[in-house]
Amino acid sequence: MNSASNLKKVLASGQFAVTAELGPPKNADAEVIRTKAKLLSDCADAVNITDCQTAIVRMSSIASSVVMMQEGLEPVTQMTCRDRNRIAIQSDLLGAAALGVKNLLCLTGDHQQFGNHPNSTGVFDMDSIQLLQMVRMMRDEKVFQCGEEIKGKAPDFFLGAAANPFADPFEFRALRLAKKVAAGAQFIQTQLVYNVEKFAAWMKAVRDLGLHEKCYILAGVTPPKSIGMARYMKNNVPGMDVPDHVIARLKGAKDSKKDVQKEGINICVDIINMVKEIEGVAGVHIMAIEWESAVPEIAKQAGLLPRP
């Protein structure tokens, strides 16, 4: 029990890490997790479990993480600030640690307006940076947020955070990452990279601040499954940057849906190969939510297999 996180071990060894992502079901069926976990088990060092992503009610990320661990796969459990106050978050984290969760990704969370309960309260007692700080203090100082001592075992998480190199103001993005690192982030998973040039410029700013030596940066990638999806990400997802040449490449694929999907995988593999060459990039985070079956193919084509 409680051996260090596999993800941490891979990153610390200097090997190029691979994480994937799994969206829990909108029902109580653990088999959905088991099936997806089987698809991902040989091609990722750890797999993110989302916490009601886009504010849609799904099986809890901690419960899903436990099911995933039963399948022998290591979860990166996501925790957002949208639905819980500091009492609930700390309580859930004690529970998660007790159940064997080793990696925690600290997020503010998508606004409830995007989801299927837009009339709900958004808690936002804290933001992602304050969440990182709180969990680091629980781990390193053995104190609850209120300052009271944690008597006995404190939760021991390998702490991660997200970063979006493509949001505005661009010149503040590396500085905001510095705040996350100072707060406690040990690894970072970025927003999906399609504009590699802009990502490289952000990485340069990150290196100028020396942050690549203080945390492991995993570039987020996803295969575009269709021209429509690529267009949707370009036009409708705030903070996403999908250059026209990506869409043009998909359009260049032969007509069948299968050809477009194949080209989507090729695009993803090419991006992995490019970001791999950027100094300070320690791995990739392959997010193929609802297309988990694409991940083994991408990992294989990108020469990322076998995993350690």
Binding site: R86, T108, H111, Q113, M126, Q130, A167, A178, Q191
Partner: protein, 222 residues
């Protein structure tokens, strides 16, 4: 000021079912300034209610009155000799006025005609927007005078989040990203270093989460 807007007329009419004699009570403070519940709006609402009830064959008697404010005892006391004459008082003040009337006149039915929306400004004719959340623990010295509690959709204290694009908030392109505004303003003031500090978790006990709030000023109490 406190900005409100009149409730949908059908909702108000629904509240008045069975009531035959109403005082429609305007407020000369914020509700007048934001054109939601001043003398003019009282007059308009009263005539809509009368016409509706006449059409439905259940006429109603309306009395119209507008007090200087509904959040001070001295003005509410003006009603003490007449309030018993009405089946209900329909207040066109913000929720503060409705509450204070209910506190003061326990035997009278007090109804709200407005939805109290926020503390805000009049940006231009006919446009109001929020500026302060009344959290009881002001942070504006650290954020260039612009409030992330009231104006960031997630009340982030260490923004901007990853959804800020082209100066707009991810939840609605009509909303400015206040963290972009804060960034621009601090940059202009040569104070960008303020954004590099981690803003600690906020004490929300001074906001509504600490229970209803009260201020007692010993120097002013009689």
């Amino acid at each position: 000021m406190i900005v409100g807007q009149r409730k949908p007329i059908q909702e108000i009419i629904g509240m008045l079912k069975g009531i035959k004699n109403i005082l429609i009570l305007g407020c000369g403070g914020c509700a007048t300034v934001c054109s939601a519940g001043g003398e003019k709006e009282v007059e308009i609402l009263a005539s809509i209610i009368r016409i509706d009830r006449k059409k439905k064959g259940g006429p109603v008697e309306t009395k119209e009155k507008t007090l200087a404010r509904q959040c001070d005892t001295e003005y509410l006391e003006e009603l003490k000799d007449e309030v018993d004459k009405y089946d209900a008082v329909l207040s066109m003040a913000c929720g503060v006025g409705v509450n204070f009337l209910a506190d003061m006149y326990p035997k009278t039915i007090i109804l709200p005609a407005l939805n109290t929306s926020f503390m805000g400004v009049s940006e231009e004719q006919g446009v109001w927007s929020e500026r302060c959340a009344g959290c009881g623990n002001c942070v504006l010295d650290k954020t260039g005078g612009l409030c992330p509690v009231a104006r960031c959709s997630k009340h982030l204290l260490n923004g901007p989040c990853g959804g800020s694009q082209n100066g707009r908030c991810e939840i609605n392109p009509d909303i400015a990203c206040v963290w972009q505004l804060i960034y621009d303003r601090l940059k202009g003031l040569n104070q960008l270093e303020k954004l590099q500090e981690i803003f600690p978790m906020k004490d929300w006990s001074s906001s509504l989460h600490g229970g209803p709030r009260k201020i007692v000023r010993e120097d002013l109490t009689l």
